[in-house]
Amino acid sequence: MDVRGAPSDAEVVALVLAGDTEAFGFVIRRYEAGLLRFATRMLGSRDAAADAVAESFVRAYRHLASCREPARLRTWLYRIVTNRCKSHLVRRSVADVSLDDAPPVADPADTEAALERADQLLLVKRALAELSPDKREAFVLKHVEGLSYEEMAAVTGERIPTLKMRVHRAREALLKVLEDHA
């Protein structure tokens, strides 16, 4: 139990495995925002991301007994979602990555700063979509989800030097796009 009274991941896992199905709601509420954000950035589509994350949660529930380190549940969930996203991307070419959370048509009430921010976001997302899935995954895990390289290694199964190289290449590609449009 943490200081705010919420059960720890290990406690939630124990509850679910003891038969308290409803306790899995803690897991969903605790991690869905981050997982949805990660999947959205990987797939470029909110709907596809929601499907991938929902499927991942159901799989996680059914295989919860095989989670060897309940205290590291977050990393385990990212691993499942990462693999769901990869499976999704295999069935789809990178060119199909949509930008369906692109900013809406300009509203006169929008401030200039908000429009500029929306343009910038579109630019960054296009740059992200042009990266290979491996580099995109590494960049998003590192800079959007804030995982350490050790956690990224646990999520992806890759070695840390490989992940660092992917993040560095992704930064370089992103910076080039930003500079070209400056």
């Binding site: 899995f24 954000r37 991942s56 949660f57 799989r59 976001l121 800079h143 660092k164």
Partner: protein, 204 residues
């Protein structure tokens, strides 16, 4: 590709303090950090909760007892008969006659898209063994292996729609192990290996 000064990577990787690099490099660091911040902020409505959807899938009840019985009745099962040698010749003749007169020229009653899958695993200490996989949505319980002669070798023969399936054995309801004798193994979503079974149309 824009080559970035290595110190920028070091700052972004937390290996170097931002103050340790010149101002122009700090601007590039800030530019990349701002891009990441933009990606981290999803627009409103992008994170509608999945809780009700996921919990509904989880709470979906397992098939009723009647449904399980019905499924068992319509699923072919292997039946093993032990016969004294003295009777075996006569028994074989009867079985052959019954087969010839009751079975059509097409053989067993399997649909065109169905085939037979055999699961065999050696678990000498096990109390129960089940096969779970993509054929039963990874739900334990529906395919139970049996060790009728208590030699530690568990078996099940089932009819499945033709196709390629991933599976594992669940031993004593809690230990998930791949079948290393499977046709092949593939990495699963959890960093381990699943076994692969290919169910081919019967008779081919």
């Amino acid at each position: 590709m824009t080559v970035i000064d290595p110190r920028i990577h070091q700052v972004l990787d937390g290996e170097l303090a931002p103050e340790a690099v010149p101002a122009e490099l700090r601007r590039t660091v800030a530019q990349l950090a701002a891009a990441a911040d933009l990606l981290a902020a999803l627009p409103p409505g992008a994170t509608a909760s999945l809780e009700s959807r996921v919990m509904a899938a989880i709470r979906r009840p397992a098939p009723s007892r009647a449904r399980r019985v019905l499924r068992w009745l319509v699923t072919p099962h292997a039946i093993i008969l032990r016969v004294r040698p003295a009777w075996s010749v006569a028994f074989a003749a009867v079985v052959a006659a019954l087969t010839l007169f009751t079975a059509g020229p097409e053989g067993p009653e399997l649909a065109e898209h169905e085939g037979i899958a055999q699961f065999v695993g050696r678990f000498p200490e096990a109390q129960s063994v089940h096969a779970v996989g993509t054929f039963n949505d990874w739900r334990s319980g529906s395919i139970a292996l049996e060790d009728q002669d208590h030699d530690g070798v568990w078996r099940a023969t089932v009819v499945l729609p033709t196709g390629t399936y991933e599976y594992m054995f669940v031993v004593d309801g809690e230990r998930w192990v791949p079948d290393h004798l499977a046709e092949r193994l593939v990495a699963d979503d959890f960093g381990r290996e699943n076994s692969i079974v290919i169910v081919r149309p019967a008779g081919r």
